[in-house]
C-alpha cells in the first residue's frame, strides 16, 4: 500500500434521499486506498449498504460524486464497474443454476471471455472444487455464500465489497471467510466490508470507518482510532485495603472496589495530560502503598457505542 498514491475509490459529498423521504446518506466523503481492508462499522440502518450499493451502481445518489480507479461511476460506468466485485448481504441465488455455470455467467456479464481454467481454480480456492456440478439449491448456506464470493471474483476485480459477509454464518465458516480475505489481500485486492461485529473489524481491517445515521462519524487506522477514541483504565492494587478514597484523591474520581483493595482510574488517551504522574504522587502523599499497576484499553465495541451515542450531539471528528 502506498499512502501517497491516488485513492482507488473517491467519494465526495455523497447523499441519498429515498423517495419515501428517508435520508440514508448525507454528505459522505471517503477515500479508500488501494490494497487496504476497510471495515465500515455501524448499526442497522446506518447507511452502510446504501453506501456500497451506490458505489456499485445499484442505487442512484441524490448528490455528490464517486470515482473508482479514477473513473466516474456515471460517465465511465463500464471502466468503474469492471474493477468491482460485490458480495451482497442477502443470499441471492438462482436456485436451479449449476455452480460452475452461475460463476461463468458472472464472468461473462463483466465482459470477459470464458475461462474455465480460472473458474476451476477459483472454485478450488474457495473449497468448492467438488461442488462445481451441483445445483445451487442443494448447497448449504455457507456454501452458497462461497459461491457468491466466487461470482464476485469471477472477473478478477481489483476491489471487493463484502456486505455483512458473516451475518448468520457459523464460527467455522467465519474463520474460513477471514482466511479468504487474507489471501485476497495478499493478492493486492482492495477489500471493503461492512459489519456490525466489532471484533471482526478489529481483527481484520487496516482502517475502520464508523457510520451512523448516514454520516461517517469517524474513520482512521484501526490502531489510531482505538488510541484516539479509546479510554484506558489504570487499576491500582493496594498492599493494604482502604476503607474509603482519601479526600486528597477526590479530583481523580477513582472507583474503589468493594473489598477496598483496588482503585480504578479512568483516563482519556487523547488528552495532553493523562494525570497519571500526579495521581501517583497523590497516592504516595496519601500514604497508600502500591502492590501492582495494570492498564486496560477499551475495545472497539466500547468506542463504537460511545461514538454512536454521542453522535446525537453532532459529529465526533
Amino acid at each position: 500500500m502506498n499512502p501517497t498514491s491516488e485513492p482507488i475509490i473517491r467519494v465526495r459529498g455523497l447523499g441519498k434521499r429515498y423517495a419515501n423521504g428517508f435520508t440514508a446518506l448525507s454528505n459522505v466523503d471517503l477515500d479508500i486506498k488501494e490494497g487496504e481492508i476497510l471495515a465500515l462499522l455501524g448499526p442497522n440502518g446506518a447507511g452502510k449498504t446504501t453506501l456500497i450499493s451506490t458505489i456499485c451502481g445499484l442505487v442512484e445518489p441524490t448528490s455528490g460524486s464517486v470515482t473508482v480507479g479514477g473513473h466516474d461511476i456515471h460517465k465511465n460506468f463500464r471502466e468503474a464497474r469492471s474493477l468491482i466485485g460485490l458480495v451482497p448481504q442477502e443470499l441471492a441465488i438462482a436456485p436451479f443454476d449449476v455452480v460452475a455455470n452461475t460463476v461463468r455467467l458472472s464472468r461473462g456479464l463483466f465482459g470477459l471471455a470464458r475461462n474455465d481454467v480460472y473458474i476451476e481454480e477459483l472454485l478450488g480456492r474457495l473449497s468448492l472444487g467438488d461442488k462445481m456440478g451441483n445445483i445451487m439449491q442443494q448447497l448449504s448456506g455457507g456454501m452458497k455464500r462461497r459461491v457468491l464470493i466466487a461470482k464476485a471474483l469471477a472477473h478478477e476485480p481489483r476491489i471487493l465489497f463484502l456486505d455483512e459477509p458473516t451475518a448468520g454464518v457459523d464460527v467455522e465458516l467465519r474463520k474460513d471467510m477471514w482466511a479468504i480475505v487474507e489471501q485476497l489481500r495478499a493478492d493486492g485486492v482492495t477489500i471493503i466490508l461492512t459489519t456490525h461485529y466489532i471484533e471482526e473489524a478489529e481483527e481484520i481491517a487496516d482502517r475502520v470507518g464508523v457510520i451512523a445515521k448516514g454520516r461517517i462519524i469517524a474513520i482512521d487506522d484501526k490502531v489510531n482510532l482505538m488510541s484516539r477514541f479509546g479510554r484506558k483504565q489504570l487499576t491500582i492494587e493496594l498492599r493494604d485495603p482502604c476503607d474509603s478514597v482519601p479526600a486528597t484523591l477526590e479530583p481523580f474520581s477513582l472507583e474503589r472496589s468493594s473489598d477496598g483493595r483496588r482503585l480504578v482510574y479512568s483516563y482519556d488517551t487523547r488528552a495532553d495530560r493523562t494525570g497519571i504522574t500526579s495521581l501517583l504522587q497523590a497516592l504516595n502523599s496519601a500514604g497508600l502503598q502500591l502492590k501492582d499497576l495494570s492498564t486496560t484499553q477499551s475495545s472497539l465495541e466500547d468506542i463504537f457505542v460511545d461514538m454512536v451515542a454521542s453522535d446525537n450531539d453532532g459529529a465526533v471528528e
Binding site: 423517495a19 455467467l105 461473462g108 456479464l109 465482459g111
Partner: protein
C-alpha cells in the same frame, strides 16, 4: 459494447429453456395438435373453406400467432421477473452493461425461443394439413418482428410485475382474449357488421391478418397496414423500455 455480457445473458436464458424442455417445447406441440383435432377435424368438417382456403389450413397462421404471442410474453416476462424475485438481478445491475445490452440479452433469448416454438408448430401443422406458404420471406419477417415486439412487451410486464399474480394478469386477461377475438380461427368478414368495426380496434387483428396474407394472400386488412401496426407496436415497446431504464423503474432506487 459488452458483447460477452450479452452472450452471457442470452446463453444463460437459453440454458434455462433446455432445462425446461418438456414445458417449453412439448406443451405447444401438444396444444397445436389438440387445436387441429378440435377446430380442424370436428368443426372444420362442417365449415369446409374460408375465403377459398381449407379451414384446417386457414387456422394455421392464427394458431401460430396465438402461441407466439403468449410464449413471447411469458418467456420474456419470466426471464426478467425471476432474477428480480430471487434477488440475483443485483449482478446484472452492477455489471458494466448498458440497458440496451441487457435487453438484447433477455429479449433476444425470449424471441429466439418463440421462433423455435413457431417453427415447431409449423412443422406439426404440416402433419395435419397440406401446408403452402405464398410469401416465405414475408412470413419470416412477420414471425421475427412479432417475436421481438411481444418479447419486449413481456419484458416490460416482467419489470412492472412485483408478484406472480401481476405477472400472469396481462397475458391472461388482455392477450388471450385479444388473440381469440383477433381472427385466429375465423375471418372477420364472418362477424356481424358492428363487430367487424369493433374488432378493428384490436391490434392482434392486424398481426394475424398480415401473417395469414404471407401464407394464402388472403387478408382482412391491407398488408401494409399490418406491417405498420406491428412496427408501431415495436417502437412503442422500445419507447417504454427506454423510459423504464432511463428512470431505473423498479430496478434502481
Amino acid at each position: 459494447m459488452n458483447v460477452e455480457g450479452i452472450k452471457a445473458i442470452y446463453f444463460n436464458e437459453m440454458r434455462r429453456t433446455r432445462n425446461t424442455l418438456l414445458q417449453s417445447i412439448v406443451s405447444p406441440v401438444l396444444s397445436t395438435a389438440l387445436y387441429f383435432v378440435v377446430f380442424g377435424g370436428a368443426i372444420g368438417s362442417r365449415i369446409q373453406s374460408v375465403e377459398g382456403v381449407d379451414y384446417g389450413l386457414f387456422i394455421v397462421p392464427g394458431l401460430m400467432m396465438l402461441s407466439l404471442l403468449t410464449q413471447s410474453i411469458s418467456n420474456a416476462s419470466f426471464g426478467i421477473f425471476f432474477p428480480k424475485f430471487t434477488g440475483t438481478i443485483y449482478e446484472v445491475m452492477s455489471a458494466p452493461m448498458s440497458f440496451f445490452e441487457v435487453i438484447v440479452g433477455y429479449v433476444g433469448a425470449a424471441a429466439t425461443k418463440s421462433l423455435i416454438i413457431g417453427t415447431i408448430i409449423l412443422i406439426t401443422a404440416a402433419f395435419f394439413v397440406d401446408l403452402r406458404i405464398a410469401h416465405p420471406v414475408w412470413m419470416v419477417a412477420f414471425l421475427v418482428l412479432t417475436c421481438i415486439a411481444f418479447s419486449l412487451f413481456g419484458f416490460i410486464i416482467g419489470l412492472w410485475a412485483d408478484n406472480f399474480e401481476k405477472l400472469q394478469l396481462i397475458p391472461l386477461i388482455v392477450i388471450t382474449p385479444l388473440v381469440f377475438l383477433g381472427g385466429s380461427f375465423y375471418s372477420i368478414d364472418m362477424l356481424p357488421e358492428f363487430w367487424q368495426k369493433v374488432t378493428l380496434f384490436n391490434p392482434v387483428v392486424y398481426l394475424i391478418s398480415g401473417f395469414r396474407w404471407s401464407f394464402f394472400e388472403v387478408a382482412d386488412v391491407p398488408v401494409g397496414l399490418s406491417l405498420a401496426m406491428i412496427a408501431g407496436f415495436l417502437v412503442l415497446c422500445l419507447g417504454i423500455v427506454w423510459w423504464m431504464f432511463k428512470t431505473g423503474y423498479k430496478l434502481r432506487s
